[in-house]
């Protein structure tokens, strides 16, 4: 084996273009781009689902969609946006940025990284394949028992959901182990924990949340799967089970999950604000510890999703208090962001627009969130559009605004050309206005009693014009993202005229010290870090902008070999799980066989 490994290492470098190179890539930057492209497509699909929902609700008693189609659309909209859009958009940034920011050549386990991506995309495709059978999941993204039981959901819809989420969970867990170890162990010399860029810190905390939250939903889904496939009664009262168990398990996962969605955007904004304020992040340590505190408390607030189940005064009080408490570290972050801007020399570039939009909108969403901490208020708001307004302010106004800002910020690094500033700012204003038009009236609709997840409403309840405004707003959001795609297209066409330098924004972190886009090995020499904001220190010492880094010949730099075994293993894993739904035991066993074959070949493959 040792001989073959040596031979392999000296074999001519395999071709770096074409489909095969993408199927076998283990380069964290390429995997990041794969994640980003896939997630953006899923985001557009989820957005289309939202537009159909809004079109149905634009007038009362509309029959544009049937109740069944509406159920499928809102379930798939939620599931897609959470698991197939926002999480993988974060995964794109984890992949692309973490090794660059900590000064590493790749992640700790490059093939495991490829495996995560392949499992994710197979899970996403499987979940969406349900549309082909006209059996898309239709029990809500939270899949409450006993709506999901065989008795009330006899079709394949919920099976697609359970198995799809189970597959996606494997991808998240594998990636979380990988990134956690990468951040702990692959930091460049001098990159102490308290010198890491805030995005890396928030990413690390997110990995901890993933590691501890996903096993819980895995178990919850296993119970649901056995209830549906084999007839156990975990969630079925007639057999002694308790549907509330699902809610507990789901929300023990589900509330940390919302921090999994929002902590990476916190990190993005914490990178953008200092660079465009020309001063270091205010309260670095407070930012780190408030992030960690949010994650810790995030495991102790789940029952605020369940006040209406009647948990009793003690549980209600405890979860009400922890929920109010979690507003404190979040508030610390917001004050620190404002403190970063305060007295800064603000460079009004596109990424800063989105970061500012993020702060404004996230504060609104945060405030309506604290309102849910009060059980009596929450009982009025539960299952109304007020809740829909709240989480769209934090997830669209928060996460998506930060993601778009991050896209404008890191695009030049990833692709080597700048996106158009003017178009970006126009997009910002359309997005900002349309976002508020879409989601602000939902507060009123909710407090007027408009229920969520209901495909229509009757006229004359004071909801008509609110819903019409919301639908007009949602069309504005469609325009904003069309403009984003136009921007990408136009900028790509003009990329020769507008190449990105290594450091277009006067950045502070290591990714800006290398050419755009980076070479495969990232750093010709592993950098040594002497403080926070290493690039600003370097520029200060140099007395001005650094010379443009040259592309160098890296043929002597040892990189992991490409491999297709992660893909094979991912296919085996997916087939194994899909067997529960189609084909039964033989399909399970075929999946297990492919999984073991792939895993063994992977384990004994020379890594170079």
């Amino acid at each position: 084996m040792a001989t073959s490994a040596r031979e392999h290492a000296h074999a001519p470098a395999p071709s770096k273009t074409g489909l095969w190179s993408w199927l076998t890539t283990v380069d964290h930057k390429r995997i990041g781009i794969l994640y980003g492209a896939s997630a953006f497509i899923f985001f557009l699909i989820g957005g289309l689902e939202a537009l159909l929902i809004r079109w149905q609700l634009r007038i009362p008693e509309n029959n544009f969609l049937s109740a069944e189609a509406y159920n499928q659309l809102f379930t798939m909209h939620g599931t897609t946006m959470v698991f197939l859009a926002v999480m993988p958009l974060s995964a794109m940034l984890f992949n692309y940025l973490i090794p660059l920011m900590i000064g590493a050549r790749d992640v700790a386990f490059p093939r495991l990284n490829a495996f995560s991506y392949w499992v994710f995309i197979l899970g996403g495709l499987f979940m969406n394949a349900s549309f082909l059978f006209n059996a898309a999941p239709d029990a809500g993204w939270f899949g409450y028992a006993n709506l999901t039981s065989k008795q009330y959901s006899p079709g394949m819809n919920v099976d697609f959901w359970v198995i799809g989420l189970q597959i996606l969970g494997v991808a998240s867990l594998a990636a979380a182990v990988n990134f956690f170890v990468t951040i702990i162990n692959l930091r460049a010399p001098g990159m102490k924990l308290m010198r890491m860029p805030m995005f890396v810190w928030m990413s690390m905390i997110t990995q901890v949340l993933l590691l501890l939250a996903f096993p819980v939903i895995t178990v919850a889904l296993v119970f649901l799967l056995t209830d549906r496939m084999f007839g156990t009664g975990f969630y079925i009262p007639a057999q002694g089970g308790d549907p509330i168990l699902w809610q507990h398990l789901f929300w023990i996962f589900g509330h940390p999950e919302v921090y999994i969605l929002i902590l990476p955007p916190f990190g993005i904004v914490s990178e953008i604000l200092p660079v465009f304020s020309r001063k270091p992040l205010f309260g670095y340590a407070a930012m780190v510890f408030s992030g960690a505190f949010i994650a810790f408390l995030g495991f102790g607030v789940w029952s605020h999703h369940m006040f209406s189940t009647g948990l009793g005064p003690i549980a209600d009080s405890v979860f009400s208090l922890t929920t109010m408490l979690i507003a404190i570290p979040t508030g610390v972050k917001i004050f620190n962001w404002i403190g970063t801007l305060w007295g800064g020399s603000l460079q009004m570039k596109t990424p800063l627009y989105y970061a500012l939009g993020f702060i404004a909108l996230f504060v609104i969403g945060g405030l309506s969130g604290v309102m849910h901490a009060s059980p009596p208020a929450d009982l009025q708001q539960t299952d109304t559009y007020f809740v829909v307004a709240h989480f769209h302010y934090v997830l669209f106004g928060g996460a998506i605004f930060a993601m778009v800002g991050g896209a404008f910020y890191w695009w030049p690094k990833m692709f080597g050309y700048m996106l158009r500033e003017g178009l970006g700012k126009v997009q910002f204003w359309i997005m900002f206005i349309a976002m508020n038009l879409t989601f602000f009236p939902m507060h009123y609709a909710g407090l007027h009693g408009m229920p969520r997840r209901t495909y229509t409403y009757v006229a004359g309840l004071g909801l008509d014009w609110l819903n019409l405004v919301e639908t007009i707003g949602s069309l504005g959001l469609a325009v904003a993202f069309t403009l984003f795609m136009v921007n990408i297209f136009v900028s790509f066409r003009g990329r020769k005229a507008n190449p990105a330098p290594a450091d277009p924004w006067n950045g502070a972190t290591l990714e800006w010290s290398i050419p755009s886009p980076p070479q495969e090995f990232n750093f010709p020499e592993i950098p040594t870090v002497e403080g926070r904001d290493p690039l600003w220190t370097a520029k200060r010492k140099h007395g001005g902008p650094l010379p443009e880094p040259k592309r160098v010949d890296g043929s002597n730099i040892h990189l992991p070999n490409p491999s297709y075994w992660p893909l094979v293993t991912a296919i085996g894993m997916s087939i194994m799980l899909i067997g529960f739904m189609a084909g039964g035991l033989p399909v399970n066993l075929i999946g297990v066989a492919i999984l073991f074959f792939g895993a063994f070949r992977w384990a004994f493959e020379p890594t170079g």
């Binding site: 700790a108 386990f109 990988n178 096993p215 057999q239």
Partner: protein
Amino acid sequence: MSHADAHAMHPPTATGLDTRKLAIWTFIGSECLFFASLISTYLVYKGKSLVGPLPHDASQCMLDGRMQQCEGVFEIPLVTFGTAVLLFSSYFVVKALSGAQRGNRKQLIGWLSATVVGGLFFVGMQVYEFYHFFHKGLGYTTNVFSASFYTLTGFHGTHVTLGVIWLSTVLVLAIRGKLPPEKALNLELAALYWHFVDVVWIVIFPVVYLMK
């Protein structure tokens, strides 16, 4: 420098910990929540079964097509013996690892084989136990006790089985002479996982079998 040579791909790590070892520990941390959820569910459903058989007490249950009085299903002596074997296998793998690290091939192969045999015995014990329970009228879907019990111990058994496969693979490497002292980590990783699987059972055994 030998460490750096062994892992030419990565320079020495930021913490000095081996990257693969850290990954196994991270994975184990995650697995704790997996088993915690399963064990919690078992406890939540304790005493909630609508029909028998029950773990300890006699109850009315459906057997041979009619409702009748059934004994509690657990047989503590058998599972105690299986538990002891599993715990001893954790000791065996420590001895095997010490053999691997000191280049004592005989010690390595002997103790590692004993570990694998111990693991296989435990799995065999569990298969026998499940078979036996089934014939006492405890099917997978009989009641919430059976569903949560079989799911919990079944997943643990699956973990033991995967551990046996992993350790056997390392054993084959050892027999072929491909586990020199500088590669003892390949065994240590499997051993860490094996200890974890044992520790989970140390929780399951009293909580599920002994607690009435």
